[in-house]
Symmetry: C2
Subunit: 431 residues, 2 copies
């Protein structure tokens, strides 16, 4: 799942061309990808198990590398959140190994026949899932992404090119080296994992321009990284975007359920993309609902429009700027709407297209909300926090797409594949 | 299906920002898209039928507009192929109307439940097909694209923004006006069809940068247009790319079948992307096969590598440059390969990833070819000319994608949709 916004300003980077070192890394990944594409599911699972064992055995080596990253980050004045994301401990390394084993246990998406049919002339047509080839991951300072992303890419038959941040380079090197050895022990090409060692900002832009070498780029990071990908990437990409998520409490809502859902969506883990940022309340239930909501989550700062402040006079004001903000913390904007149309319009205006929820007992209202709200996920009577690959049962996720092409919503193993038409005949020609 | 390469040099265009006129056009399309997304299948089919009737009724008006385009093109010295693509006649206008009716008769992809399941906590999860929103089409001088693309976009619940070439602007205006009226007669928003009137090169680039207004851009044109999209587009796009297609004649091939397939793949319609550009022949069958192939298609100019020229001494030479060329005409490159690996390697090196065929009677060889060749479509014992939306049974196509994300191979109505997660509960919150 996506994390909070980061501070690196990628938008300031100067475009540059890929260096020969970077191109060579890409070419080795490409060649490895061709081998992985025809590898057996057994071999790929074996590689994941071997890498997990090695991570467990080498926990001290990984922690030692990580300690150098942490010391450097502390010296440069990194804040507590950044340090927490960066820091590994035995439990976190063990969790990385466990993640690889979990991925090994998932069904293999490669070779799945998506659909198939026979044409009147006897041609048999199948669409078959195939790996993408080389998946590029550009990410910020969480070292566990190195292992998680590489595991999902291998399971789906892909090579992975990793470009992490300078702050976690020693940790990433230690982890990537271990994974490469794991792949090798299973007879698979070690270049199925490639790590970019040059973590300059120029190299980030060059990475996004490895045309013909990266088949799909997935950025994992804050708004500045995403903006840089939009601006500079020339390779195909899928954006794991921001979540400005809403919960609409309809006049037909069970208010106890609404309270529980809004509180969960806001406070259960406020720093992530599927947490709620704005609650929209139908005017008919604003009087009873808003005071009980405020009482139920005293730790949350509410900011309201005029109608909300008429009910809760002590809260601060919310306008377009607040409604457009992904707070990623214990702040919630509140707006009172006249009806369902008002809620749908507000969401159309401010939503980032991630996850949008309604609480209602009315069937027609629920149906219109799910049909008309344009987002990766719409929920009825459930917390936005469920829009996550594991919670939805995908097994694992590489990110949550807020775009409409290729993948939308939580991306699991299938979203790391493409399809190939396989057409079989016995001499058919076209007339 | 894709056409031949065109000559417009988009790569020379200077980037520019969208004008207020263009942005307004995009905003109107976006608003229309929201209405179309919740329109009924009946209303959309009605609009297609009404537009078809209007096209039939107004054939004279459309032909008159087209005549001004043709006169202008002739005056500017356009070649015969360009004029043929541009010129409409009563049969071609009637075919446009017929195309709209055919699309109306296809199944509606919108609302299709792709898959669905129930989580252990009772949450019901469905993935439902929804329209993309606004599809942008940038195309060259075929006026029928105006009608064909708009019909497919409407059927799939999308608004369409059309940006054709200056050479066909009068034809496009006449057709788009008719379509808009047809949409209106069915009670659907006329802005579901938008035509960019400014056909300057700057406007083409600005069109590719309508961020937030175009949900998917599909270019229909030659290599220069595709290069410009890769370079300038900031909106999501799907490339309808080039076809450097191969037929590999294995040593286990039935040579009569191989002859028939290669001839069909080369000469049945040489100017299109799914025609063959290179034949690869296993060394064991080069002696019997190449002379009969040459005799079977005397109109084709063969260009061979050294081994091919040892069998056919009169043909010209082929090297890397020829093997990389999409001739789109009556020229065919010939290479003799040592074995299946040689064929796969040649294809990996020169293929554009469109359609690749093998002729063989050996099962293991066919299986390895289909598994290891990386292309949108692989064929066994059939002509590459079948890789086309209608031939494969998709009903119609908006293009043939040679990229791996979102859509690969012929793109039908489903490829003009996205999916939305619809999650229903009864108060579930995350713990």
């Amino acid at each position: 799942m996506c994390g909070t916004a980061k501070s690196t300003n990628y938008a300031e980077t100067v475009p540059s061309s890929p260096t020969s070192t970077l191109i060579e890394l890409g070419q080795r990944a490409k060649a490895a990808g061709r081998v992985l594409a025809r590898s057996s599911s057994d071999a790929r699972n074996e590689a994941l198990e071997r890498a997990a064992e090695l991570l467990d055995q080498r926990v001290d080596r990984v922690l030692e590398a990580n300690a150098t990253d942490v010391v450097r980050a502390e010296a440069s004045g990194a804040d507590a959140t950044t340090l927490d994301r960066l820091r590994l401990d035995p439990a976190r390394v063990s969790a990385m190994a466990g993640g690889l084993r979990q991925v090994a246990a998932l069904p293999d998406p490669v070779g799945e026949v998506v659909d198939g049919w026979v044409r009147p002339n006897g041609l048999r047509v199948q669409r078959v899932r195939v790996p993408l080839g080389v998946v590029g991951i550009i990410y910020e300072n969480r070292p566990n992404v190195t292992s998680d992303a590489a595991g999902l890419c291998l399971k789906s038959g892909n090579a992975v090119l990793l470009r992490g941040s300078s702050s976690s380079i020693a940790s990433n090197q230690a982890i990537a080296t271990t994974l490469r050895e794991g792949w090798g022990k299973a007879g698979l090409p070690v270049d199925g994992v490639g790590l970019v060692e040059d973590t300059s900002r120029e190299s980030a832009v060059a990475f996004m321009q490895l045309d013909g070498l990266i088949d799909c780029l997935i950025p994992r990071g804050g708004p500045s990284l995403l903006a840089s990908v939009r601006e500079h990437a020339t390779v195909p990409f899928v954006l794991d975007g921001a979540g400005n998520c809403h919960v609409y409490v309809d006049r037909h809502a069970d208010l106890a359920m609404a309270e529980s859902i809004v509180v969960n969506a806001k406070v259960q883990r406020p720093g992530v993309c599927n947490s709620a940022e704005t609650v929209l309340v139908h005017r008919d239930v604003a009087d009873p609902f808003l005071p009980r909501l405020a009482a139920a989550m005293p730790e949350v700062t509410l900011l309201g429009d005029a109608a909300a402040r008429a009910v809760l006079p002590d809260i601060g004001p919310a306008g377009d700027q607040e409604f457009a903000t992904e707070f990623l913390g214990l702040t919630l904007a509140v707006a009172v709407v006249d009806d369902l149309d008002g809620a749908i319009d507000h969401i159309a205006r401010f939503s980032s297209g991630h996850s949008e929820a309604i609480v209602t007992g009315d069937l027609a209202t629920a149906d219109r909300f799910t049909a008309e709200v344009d987002a990766a996920a719409v929920l009825v009577n459930a917390s936005t926090r469920f829009i996550d690959g594991e919670e939805l049962g995908l097994g694992a996720e590489i990110g949550i797409s807020t775009q409409k092409l290729h993948a939308r919503g939580p991306m699991g193993l299938r979203q790391l594949t493409s399809v190939k038409y396989v057409v079989s005949g016995n001499g058919q020609v076209r007339s």
